[in-house]
C-alpha cells in the first residue's frame, strides 16, 4: 500500500512539474497552477513551500529518475479520512531539503529583481510627480494672472470707489476743497469724446465767476486777488486792534496785484506781506478770549487765505495762474469743462463765502456726469 501511495505521489508531483514547466508562471496567480488539484475522492497533496504573491516565482520540483515507476492510480477509492502523508514517514525529498532552499533562493532573487524594478518605477513616479507639480504651479500662476486683480486693477478700483463717493453726496468739506469736483471732472473728461457737445446742464450766472481754478500744476488759485486787488475783510478783523495791520496788507496786496499782472512780484513786497500776516496771526491768538468762536474762526481763515494768496504770488508761473483764475468759463457745465480741459485746469479750494457757488457747481457736475455716463437712465427718468 505504501508503495502504491509513494508511486501515486511522485506521479502527481511529476505531472505538476510538467504542467508548471509547460507555461511561464502567471504573476499573482501561482496557486491556480500549482500544486495540481487532487482527483476527486483523493486525499489532498502534502504541503509544499508556496511562492509569495509578491515574487510570483514558482518553485519547480525536480523530475524523478527514469527508473522510477509511478505507483498505480488509486482506483480502490480509499476512504477519504485516510491520511497517508501524515508524519511523512518515508523522508519525502519534495517536502523539505535542497529543492526548497533552491526555491527560496530563486524566490529571493525574484523578490530582489521585483523590488529593484519597483524602486525604478517609484523613481519614475517621483519624477512624474515633479513634472505634475510644476505644471500645476504654472497653471495656478496662469489662473492667478488671469483672475486676480493687478496693481493697476486695484488702482482703478480705488479711483472708482473715490468717484462713487464723490458723486454720491460726499462730505461738504470734499466739495469745498475741490477734491470731489476734480474727481468728477476727470471722470467727465474720460467719458466724453473730444469735441462732442455733451449734455446741456446750465449754471447760474454768477457761479462760474466764484469758482477758483488752478493751472493744473498748483494746488491753489489766485486766492483773494482773483477778482481784483480790493480785499473784503471779515467782521472779525475789523476791530481797532487790526487797523494798522489791515492797512498794510491792503497796500501790499495792491502792489503785488499790479506787479503780478505786469510780470513778477518783488521779493520785498512778499516778505513784508508775510511779516504783516504773522503779526495778524499773533494778534488773533492774543485776542482769543475777546472774540467769539465764530469770529475767531472767520478771522483765522481769512488770514490763511491771505497766506495762500501770498504763496500763489511767489510761484514762478504766478502771472499765468492769475490769468487762468480770472477766466469766466461760461454758463454751462459743458462749457466750463471744455475750457478747463483745453487749459489743463483744476478746481482750487473755495474761498470764504463762495461755498454756495461750489455746491451749485457740484450739483451741475453730478447731473452732467450722470447724463453722460447713463444716457438711457436719464432719458427714461425724463
Amino acid at each position: 500500500v505504501s508503495r502504491i501511495l509513494r508511486t501515486s505521489l511522485l506521479s502527481t508531483l511529476f505531472s505538476a512539474a510538467l504542467c508548471a514547466g509547460a507555461g511561464s508562471p502567471v504573476h499573482g496567480q501561482p496557486q491556480q497552477q500549482y500544486p495540481p488539484a487532487a482527483p476527486p475522492g483523493y486525499p489532498p497533496p502534502p504541503p509544499i513551500t508556496q511562492p509569495t504573491q509578491q515574487s510570483g516565482v514558482v518553485a519547480r520540483p525536480t523530475a524523478p529518475p527514469a527508473s522510477y515507476a509511478p505507483p498505480p492510480v488509486n482506483v480502490n477509492q480509499y476512504a477519504p479520512s485516510y491520511a497517508p502523508y501524515s508524519g511523512a514517514p518515508y523522508g519525502d525529498p519534495y517536502a523539505s531539503g535542497g529543492l526548497t532552499g533552491a526555491a527560496n533562493a530563486i524566490n529571493a532573487q525574484g523578490e530582489y529583481e521585483k523590488q529593484f524594478q519597483q524602486a525604478r518605477l517609484m523613481n519614475q513616479d517621483v519624477e512624474r510627480s515633479k513634472i505634475d507639480t510644476r505644471r500645476a504651479k504654472i497653471e495656478q500662476w496662469q489662473w492667478e494672472r488671469n483672475n486676480m486683480p493687478t496693481l493697476e486693477d486695484n488702482r482703478r478700483r480705488d479711483q472708482y470707489e473715490q468717484l462713487r463717493r464723490s458723486v454720491n453726496d460726499p462730505p461738504p468739506a470734499e466739495i469745498w476743497d475741490g477734491s470731489a469736483l476734480n474727481r468728477i471732472l476727470v471722470a467727465i473728461q474720460q467719458a466724453q469724446p473730444p469735441g462732442s457737445p455733451g449734455p446741456m446742464v446750465p449754471l447760474a450766472p454768477n457761479v462760474a465767476s466764484q469758482i477758483s481754478l488752478t493751472t493744473g500744476a498748483t494746488s491753489t488759485g489766485a486766492g483773494l486777488l482773483k477778482n481784483g486787488p480790493k480785499l473784503r475783510w471779515p467782521y472779525a478783523l475789523s476791530d481797532d486792534a487790526f487797523d494798522g495791520l489791515r492797512s498794510n496788507v491792503n497796500q501790499l496786496m495792491k502792489t503785488a496785484y499790479d506787479q503780478v499782472t505786469a510780470g513778477e512780484v518783488d521779493f520785498k513786497v512778499l516778505r513784508d506781506l508775510n511779516k504783516t500776516l504773522d503779526q495778524m496771526d499773533a494778534t488773533l491768538k492774543a485776542k482769543i478770549e475777546d472774540m467769539t468762536p465764530t469770529e475767531n474762526i472767520q478771522g483765522k481763515r481769512y488770514v490763511r487765505e491771505l497766506r495762500d494768496t501770498a504763496r500763489a504770488l511767489q510761484q514762478p508761473d504766478a502771472q499765468a495762474l492769475f490769468a487762468a483764475d480770472r477766466s469766466d468759463a461760461g454758463r454751462t457745465v459743458g462749457g466750463l469743462v471744455q475750457t478747463m480741459t483745453a487749459k489743463g485746469q483744476k478746481f482750487a479750494p473755495a474761498l470764504a463765502g463762495t461755498e454756495p457757488a461750489y455746491n451749485a457747481l457740484y450739483s451741475g457736475l453730478v447731473a452732467y456726469y450722470t447724463e453722460l455716463s447713463q444716457p438711457n437712465v436719464r432719458a427714461a427718468s425724463r
Binding site: R157, D158, E161, P172, T292, P293
Partner: protein, 439 residues
C-alpha cells in the same frame, strides 16, 4: 396801654395773615378748581411748580392735582386722570437714541376726555385703566394736538417729546422765525390697540408685531403711515440700557434716596445731598435733576467748587437738552448768564455758540480744530470743557488723550500739545479712507 393793645392786635393779625397765606399756599394744589388728576405713587416722586417764579413743591399722594402749572416726575411717578380712567406714568429715558432726559407736563381741565395734557418734554406711558371701553386722551405739544384713543382696558401708549437744535444751527442774538429748535413727537403702542388722531386723519396702531410707531416733527409734520415693528424697541422696555447690574442697582438706590430726601426735606435739600455726594451716579442724577427743575444757579455754584470732571460732561448734556426744549430757551440762557452769573455778552455768546456746535462750513475749516485745541488751555472752565467735549466727538482718535478741564495749567498744556500732534495747525483731522469693495 392802648398802644400795647394795638400792637398785640397787629401782631395777632399779622400772624393770622401769615398762617392764612401759608395754608392757602399749601392748599393751592387742591383749591384751584376741580381736580384733574391724582398722584398714586409715593410722595417725593412728583414735583409741581405754578410758574417759573415760584418754588417747586413736592406733590403729596393725598393731594389732588389741578389744572395749570408744571409737573416734573421722577421715573415711576404715576398720575391717574379723571375717575382713574387713564394712568399716566412718568418715564426718564437716559439710553434711548432720542435726546430725552426728564419728563415735564401740564394737566388741563377738559370734561370731554379722560385726560387732557400738554407734554412739554420727555416720555409718558398712558394706560387705559377702565373696567371696559375705550379711554380718550388729548395731548398737546409744540402748538399741535393729538387725540389718543386707548381702545380697550390695558391698552398702553408711550408718548415721547423732545426738541433739538439741528446740526449746524448757530446761536444768534436776534433770532428770526427759522432760528428755532426742531421738535419731534413719537407715539409707540406698548400694549393693545390705539387710535392716534391728528389734523383730521386717524392712524390705527397696534402693539408689536404690527404698525406700532408713528412720528411727527416740526419740519415735516406727521408720518403718512405708521411704522411696523416686529417687537418693542429696546429703549422702550429698558432692555436696551447699557448698564451693569451694579449700576442699575445704584441708580435705583439713588432714585429712592432722592424720593425720600425730597419728601422729607424738600427738593433743594435733596439736590444738595446728591450734588455733594462722593458717588458719581449720585452726582450725575443730581445734575440731571437740577436741570429738570431749572435750578441752574445751584449748578453754577456747585461747579465753581467741584473737583469731579465727570459732572461737567453731564452738565453739558443737560444744558444742550435745556436749550433744545423749545424756541427762546437759548436766549433765556444767554440772558441768564449775563444777568445772574456775571458773564460779559461776549463770554455768554461764546458759551452759547459752543453749546450749539458748528456748521458744515466751520467743520470743513482747519481753523475750527485749531481754535478748539487752543481753547483747551482757556482760563474759563466752561469754555475748556466745551472745547474738549466737541474735540473728542469730532476727532474720536483723540479720546485716548488724557484731559481733565479741572487740571492745572501744565497738565492742560501737555494735553494741548498731544492734540496739536494729532491735528496739526492748518490741517483737517485725518478722515477715514473710503472702503473698497471686495476687501
Amino acid at each position: 396801654m392802648w398802644l400795647h393793645t394795638l400792637r398785640c392786635h397787629r401782631t395777632i393779625l399779622l400772624l393770622a395773615a401769615v398762617v392764612f397765606l401759608t395754608a392757602a399756599l399749601n392748599a393751592r394744589l387742591a383749591a384751584d378748581g376741580p381736580a384733574v388728576g391724582k398722584l398714586t405713587s409715593a410722595r417725593g416722586t412728583l414735583f409741581y411748580r405754578e410758574s417759573p417764579q415760584t418754588k417747586w413743591q413736592v406733590v403729596d399722594p393725598s393731594t389732588e392735582v389741578h389744572a395749570g402749572g408744571v409737573l416734573v416726575g421722577l421715573p415711576g411717578a404715576v398720575l391717574t386722570g379723571k375717575d382713574g380712567a387713564v394712568a399716566l406714568e412718568f418715564q426718564t429715558d437716559f439710553d434711548s437714541p432720542y435726546p430725552v432726559l426728564e419728563c415735564a407736563l401740564t394737566l388741563h381741565r377738559n370734561p370731554a376726555v379722560d385726560l387732557d395734557l400738554t407734554l412739554g418734554r420727555g416720555r409718558v406711558d398712558l394706560t387705559n385703566r377702565k373696567e371696559q371701553g375705550a379711554a380718550q386722551v388729548l395731548l398737546h405739544s409744540h402748538g399741535e394736538t393729538w387725540q389718543i384713543t386707548l381702545d380697550e382696558p390695558g391698552a398702553s401708549v408711550a408718548a415721547e417729546v423732545y426738541g433739538t437744535w439741528p446740526r449746524g444751527s448757530r446761536f444768534v442774538k436776534d433770532p428770526g422765525p427759522k432760528d428755532v429748535p426742531q421738535a419731534e413727537i413719537l407715539f409707540l403702542v406698548l400694549h393693545g390697540q390705539a387710535d392716534i388722531g391728528f389734523a383730521g386723519a386717524h392712524h390705527r396702531l397696534t402693539a408689536p408685531p404690527g404698525p406700532a410707531l408713528i412720528q411727527w416733527d416740526s419740519a415735516f409734520g406727521m408720518d403718512s403711515t405708521p411704522q411696523s415693528l416686529k417687537e418693542l424697541p429696546p429703549w422702550a422696555t429698558r432692555a436696551g440700557q447699557h448698564r451693569s447690574a451694579e449700576e442699575q442697582a445704584k441708580y435705583k438706590a439713588t432714585r429712592e434716596h432722592l424720593i425720600r430726601a425730597a419728601a422729607d426735606k424738600g427738593m433743594d435739600a435733596a439736590l444738595d445731598e446728591l450734588l455733594n455726594s462722593d458717588d458719581p451716579i449720585d452726582r450725575r442724577v443730581g445734575v440731571i435733576a437740577a436741570g429738570a427743575v431749572d435750578d441752574f444757579p445751584r449748578l453754577a455754584e456747585f461747579f465753581q467748587h467741584t473737583k469731579h470732571a465727570d459732572l461737567i460732561e453731564t452738565a453739558i448734556l443737560v444744558l444742550r437738552h435745556w436749550i433744545g426744549r423749545g424756541p427762546g430757551q437759548d436766549q433765556a440762557l444767554y440772558r441768564g448768564l449775563i444777568a445772574k452769573r456775571g458773564f460779559t455778552p461776549l463770554q455768554a455768546e461764546s458759551m452759547l455758540q459752543l453749546l450749539h456746535g458748528f456748521n458744515n462750513e466751520e467743520l470743513a475749516q482747519p481753523e475750527t480744530y485749531e481754535l478748539l485745541i487752543a481753547y483747551l488751555t482757556d482760563s474759563r472752565l466752561a469754555i475748556r470743557a466745551l472745547a474738549h467735549w466737541h474735540l473728542v466727538r469730532l476727532v474720536p482718535a483723540g479720546k485716548d488723550i488724557a484731559y481733565n478741564p479741572l487740571d492745572g495749567k501744565e497738565a492742560l498744556q501737555r494735553a494741548q500739545q498731544e492734540w496739536q500732534k494729532l491735528v496739526p495747525a492748518g490741517k483737517l483731522p485725518p478722515r477715514q479712507k473710503p472702503q473698497t469693495s471686495g476687501k
